[in-house]
Symmetry: C2
């Protein structure tokens, strides 16, 4: 029985906006290291009753001559934002390829405590030669190794989060017992990549476990997400492909004995908002006019795994040169989505550049047309909600909050106020028990 | 020419107080995960115009049945505290044994931005079997490997912090140049442990580089600290040994061409404060009465690398069994300091337990005797200041701030207000230029 009634909305707050020229319209173009900037954005998201703000990430510097990137480390920035907000969720990206599970489990558990239960970890794998070069790796890990490591990594992190049962921190002044050793568990993990004894040195956090988000576009990613994730960030650009993905991953989750309502499907959405359609197109045209076409072409080629000379502006993509099978990295589904979109609508390279590729599905529209589109995808089970990408900050998000959100509220498909305090509550997800507690209870029952 | 006029004071705020039974006197004994608790402590330190609050750390859980430990991950907790304070410095411990230099450099650079220049990294190496077992290591690294890795780690981190010159973030709206590639440098580090290309993805932070703290008790540690550190945390318990250490490490630093005033020597100090000497001893006795002697004995034995049965309460330490040469870990100097103290004052195991071993030099006294002691060590060049350990929070720190600090201010050896905004300014340390900028300038000069 589905309890699906209202949709969920996050907003990506990385950099200074999703449009590559956003910084050239910004009040403070250097704001990538400015907490005051991110404070304003997070408070705007909270004013709009959004589920969460989200930080994407990359652990290498590239393209910095032409534009902004997520600079401040996500757990640091989200901790700072927890202090200037009360309710909005906080989703941070961290790679299973370049982190250590004990340190990562501890940071997110700590942040769940400090934020009173508002944190999620977006677990990604990283296929990127520039990043590998910053982590003493001669080359990126191959896909199989990367996903095998990710699966182990996530299992270790979840077990560490579970290593403290609720109530294990007794703190009994009279007896002098601080923590009850019977309710604090070694995880004794022995895998191919990790051997971790535990327990974590952080007591169980407000959400039990921080929310786990994954970007599950590839078959391997789908398998991993369907088993572990609470929410999946996707990049479908057509209703039909989104519905197919939605059906598939919910079915796989159900096959694992999970309640499909407890796995939220949240495609990316890139709205460009104007009071009229003409104003919206004008807004986009003004931003596009600030782009250097050759820089954008080179970036686009790089994301597709191609050289700039492989692309011709007024020709279709060189499909034969594009490898959609093995490049399944942070932007895992992007290549497949781009190819699908280009083939489906018979687009040229110029057409694709016009949509700011890499920016998810773009809608240039009025608050009403954008709200109608969101409603349509939600009601037709193509999405449980969306991961928004504002073209520029703060105006792109403020316009959404002030003009699109009220329409969604009037349609009855978005909250008028938070009715819980944790991100799990915003997402309608149960607070999980520790697996070790469940085992202990089950042993008691069967005895 | 020394500019040394006033002393520097940090306070360790880990756990709920330095006394092992502190939690049994706490208003909220579960406060190890409570941001409100740490907020009160940090604001108290700031009210006392202390240079910084400090978080020690360990990445394993041990002794949790009997007492508290630093639970929340230091960079997360310090980020949260940056948001509720304006001036006080923030010092976080992180191990070079169990972290990665790119991630760590980025977190501390991010925190330096978010705190507007108040962050320091206390770089430690970790010799601990429980910690190793959480990081896929069959055994702790041997000393030589640990220090060799630490030296490389610190070099990589400093080069990453330097990889952005000041002003490299141009953000020129007109030309469209965001960051100037000529002022953003790959570090191209190739060592035995790390190969890191860089640059960091965070522009140069307010302090240029976060302050670097080390705990340099062993000969290897001294060598590392004298070359790299801005401040050294030490654990001498006698004036004479502190003076000898002070002279030695300043001389080694000078030998490296450094200004010895730019390397602060900050021994640990554990004051137990009473309005009268009798009240101070009563305060300590009430806390000691809550301890289980056998638990404390076992902890003490473990810290010395011994079995509990190796120790007899009313006998001297079994010096022949104690290895002072190779156990140079996080509590590197502790064993040597303990042996020196016990031999110098002819103490029994019971005498040593009475001083809460592991807690640095203890003074049970009145505000006046404690302030006099601090002044004496400072004026006799045994210390540039101290790293305080309050017996219990909040009262142990509040008593120091309200009763000891005013005496130090009247003596003219401690600030009455902050006269800078960054931790470097509190410590009287210059803001370093990027080494790559210096190279470029020097090339220009010699051309």
């Amino acid at each position: 029985m589905s309890t699906r009634r209202t949709l969920h909305l996050n907003t990506n707050i990385s950099g200074l906006g999703r449009h590559p020229a956003a910084w050239r319209k910004a009040d403070n173009p250097r704001a990538i290291t400015d907490l005051a900037h991110f404070t304003e954005i997070a408070q705007t998201a909270e004013r709009g009753r959004l589920d969460a703000v989200f930080l994407s990430d990359m652990v290498a510097l590239r393209g910095h001559a032409a534009g902004t990137w997520q600079s401040l480390e996500p757990t640091v920035l989200l901790t700072a934002l927890a202090g200037v907000t009360q309710s909005v969720g906080l989703i941070g990206t961290a790679s299973t390829t370049f982190n250590d599970p004990y340190n990562l489990a501890r940071r997110f558990a700590s942040l769940d405590h400090v934020s009173a239960g508002r944190i999620a970890w977006n677990a990604v794998t990283t296929y990127d030669a520039d990043a590998a070069a910053n982590f003493s790796m001669p080359a990126p890990l191959d896909k199989e190794t990367r996903y095998a490591r990710a699966a182990e990594f996530i299992e270790v992190v979840e077990k560490l989060w579970d290593s403290w049962e609720d109530g294990a921190l007794v703190a009994d002044r009279t007896s002098g017992l601080y923590a009850d050793p019977a309710r604090v568990h070694e995880i004794a993990y022995e895998g191919q990549f990790f051997r971790v004894r535990g327990p974590l040195n952080v007591p169980r956090s407000p959400q039990g476990r921080p929310v786990l988000v994954q970007a599950g576009g590839s078959p391997t990613g789908v398998a991993l997400a369907a088993r572990h994730a609470d929410a999946v960030f996707t990049s479908q650009t057509t209703l039909k492909s989104a519905q197919a993905f939605y059906r598939e991953i919910k079915a796989v989750a159900a096959g694992h004995g999970r309640n499909p309502d407890h796995l939220l499907i949240l495609p990316g959405l890139y709205p460009v908002i104007g009071g009229t359609l003409a104003e919206a197109h004008q807004r986009k045209a003004e931003l596009d006019a600030l782009l250097d076409r050759s820089v954008e072409l080179a970036k686009f080629a790089g994301t597709l795994g191609l050289k700039p000379t492989d692309l011709e502006l007024d020709a279709p993509l060189p499909y034969a040169l594009i490898d959609t099978g093995t490049r399944t990295d942070v932007s895992h589904g992007f290549i497949r989505s781009t190819v699908l979109l280009a083939q489906g609508e018979n687009l040229t390279v110029r057409d694709l550049l016009d949509r700011n590729p890499g920016a998810h599905r773009m809608i240039v529209g009025t608050p009403q047309t954008i709200a109608d589109d969101i409603e349509s995808w939600f009601l037709q089970h193509a999405a449980d909600g969306f991961n928004l990408n504002a073209d520029t900050f703060p105006s792109g998000l403020a316009d959404f909050v002030d003009h699109v959100v009220p329409i969604l509220q009037r349609k009855g498909i978005f909250r008028r106020d938070y009715d819980g305090t944790t991100l799990r509550e915003h997402y309608g997800l149960p607070r999980p028990p520790s697996r070790y507690e469940a085992e202990a209870a089950s042993l008691t029952t069967s005895a």
